[in-house]
Each structure stands twice: as C-alpha cells, then as structure tokens.
Symmetry: C2
Subunit: 173 residues, 2 copies
C-alpha cells in the first residue's frame, strides 16, 4: 500500500508519500510546494493542484490522507483559505478515483508520536525513528504531511487486522 | 466582454454567463450545479469543477467573478466548505488564464439592485428588468451568480470609462 499525505496551506503545502514494504513503513518522497504569497490566490491554488497531480501520476498511491485543521481555533478567513488549499488535494484525489481520509492533527500525533500533544518537532523525531531516515533537514510542513500518510497507513493496517473492509477515519461533513 | 459569475457552495453552485452587447447586458446561460449531499466532498468538488470547466470551454468568457461570502457570519466549518467550493472556480479560472474578481454580496446588491440590503428575490427582479428576460423560473442560486457576473460587467464598464486599465475589485487576501 502506498499513501500520499497532504498538509494543506495556501502558502506552503506539505506532501509526503510512504509505502508499506512487508510490514515496514518506507519513505518514498516528501517535500513542500511553496506558493508565493504575492501571487493571486488562483495562481497559488493552481500551483498546489499541479504539484499534487504530478505526485499522483509519478507515485500512483492507493489512498490520499489529508490533515484536517482545527477549525475552532482558526479565524474564519484562515479556515476558508485552508479549505481552498485542501480542496486541491480532494479534487486531485477524486480525479484519480482515490479514496480520501481526513485526520485531525491530534489523531495524527496520537498515532505517530503516541500522544496527541506532541509538537511538530516531536512528530519529526518519531517519524525519523519509525521510517529509519534522518528527516531533520526537511521542512516541518513536509514531515507533518508524512505523519498524516503514516497515520493512515497505521489505521489501514489496524483495520485490515480487525477485518474491516474499509478505513472509516473520514469525518462526517 | 463576456463574464462567468459563480455563487459557490458545496451542495448547490450557481453560475451565470452574461455578455455586453453594444452597451446592453445580455443573458447567455445560467443555472446551478447540484452536488448530492450524501456524496463525499471530493466527488462533489469534482462535479462543481467539471461543470465550471465545461462552461469556460463552451462560452469562453473574458473574466470570472465570484461571490465572496460574509465569513464573519458563517460558522468556521461552513466557511471552510465555501472556501472549498470557491477554490474550484478559482482553479478553473487560473487554468484558463482568466482574471478573477471577488465581490461581497452587499457590493453585488448595491450594484445590481441599487441597495445593499436587497434580498435574493429583489436581486432577481432587478436582473429581470436589466436583462429583459423573465428569470422567475430560475433557482435563486443561479440568479445570484448572474448578479455577480452583472456586477463585474458594470464595474468593468465604469473602470473603462474612467480610463483604468484593470478592474481592481479583487479583495486582498
């Protein structure tokens, strides 16, 4: 199984692709798409969208996992901007007929770093240990996206073990 | 000049295309894209996106105008959902290299119906008079989108009259 994880943002969108290699999670690629803040929003969204389509075409993942932000904390215009960036991941996934799962950050941290309160640095350290790759040089948005992908991989494995047919992590909308 | 107006929503997205025919605004097409609420959000967004691309390909407008919601009034998850739907219009416009203008509803109503407090019904009546077409059978989301398109056409005409090179109605983000 191969998963594309996305941490959406209208300025920086993190992405991470991991795969399950006989029970071990393996890093395929991770990085960020930076959309210049002075560009109009539609150009930035196009850049994010094209970057994601390129990843889907090159890596052919089986699923897309997206970080669902804490909307309660964010100001409404920030919530709308996150919605716009996240929509690029949802659209790209739908165009490739891939299932999309969304995970709130607390769930990602609880799954990947064993507790929900871990900060981004702790998540990166946990990922370094679990993937066996030094991730210290990667931007935190990239490792956050990788964490979402790993979170989905772990839940999918757990689900398979428990005989569930589908991962049902997806929140109701 | 031909303008595509969009009133974005994740369940119902209104669209309206109008053109300037020697100083008179003329209705080209208007309607709604309904995305079944029980479908996952990514399928709904794909439907909206494909509908908009189809309109852009068939009508080749010179500009896209999008209704900018009152984010202060909307709950944050509603704001995020509107952001997602609006992102489809922004992306489709960027892919066709079209300029995008965003107008808040008060500005649309003030331009089209002469006062900001008009309700959707009053906007529809004002449009019926200005376009010379009976719009009573159209859904209000469709006529709202038409109103955004007309608002842009009026501002563009005013701008041209005043010698401005570009319409600068776009809000800062």
């Amino acid at each position: 199984m191969r998963v594309l994880g996305v941490d959406p943002g209208t300025i920086v969108t993190g992405f991470g692709v991991i795969e399950d290699a006989s029970g071990e999670a393996r890093l395929v690629e991770c990085g960020v798409t930076r959309a210049p803040a002075k560009q109009p929003i539609e150009r930035r969204l196009l850049l994010i969208y094209e970057g994601l389509l390129d990843l889907l075409t090159r890596h052919r993942p089986n699923a897309v996992a997206v970080e669902e932000p804490f909307v309660v904390q964010a100001p409404r215009n920030a919530a709308m901007a996150v919605g716009e960036a996240r929509a690029m991941a949802l659209l790209a996934a739908a165009q490739h007929s891939l299932p999309v799962s969304q995970y709130p950050p607390t769930r990602v941290r609880a799954t990947v770093a064993n507790y929900g309160a871990g900060d981004k640095e702790q998540v990166r350290t946990a990922l370094t240990l679990q993937l066996g790759v030094d991730l210290s040089a990667y931007p935190l948005d990239a490792t956050d996206a990788l964490a979402v992908a790993l979170c989905h991989l772990r839940h999918a494995a757990l689900d398979a073990m428990m005989g569930n047919e589908r991962v049902t992590a997806r929140g109701r909308r």
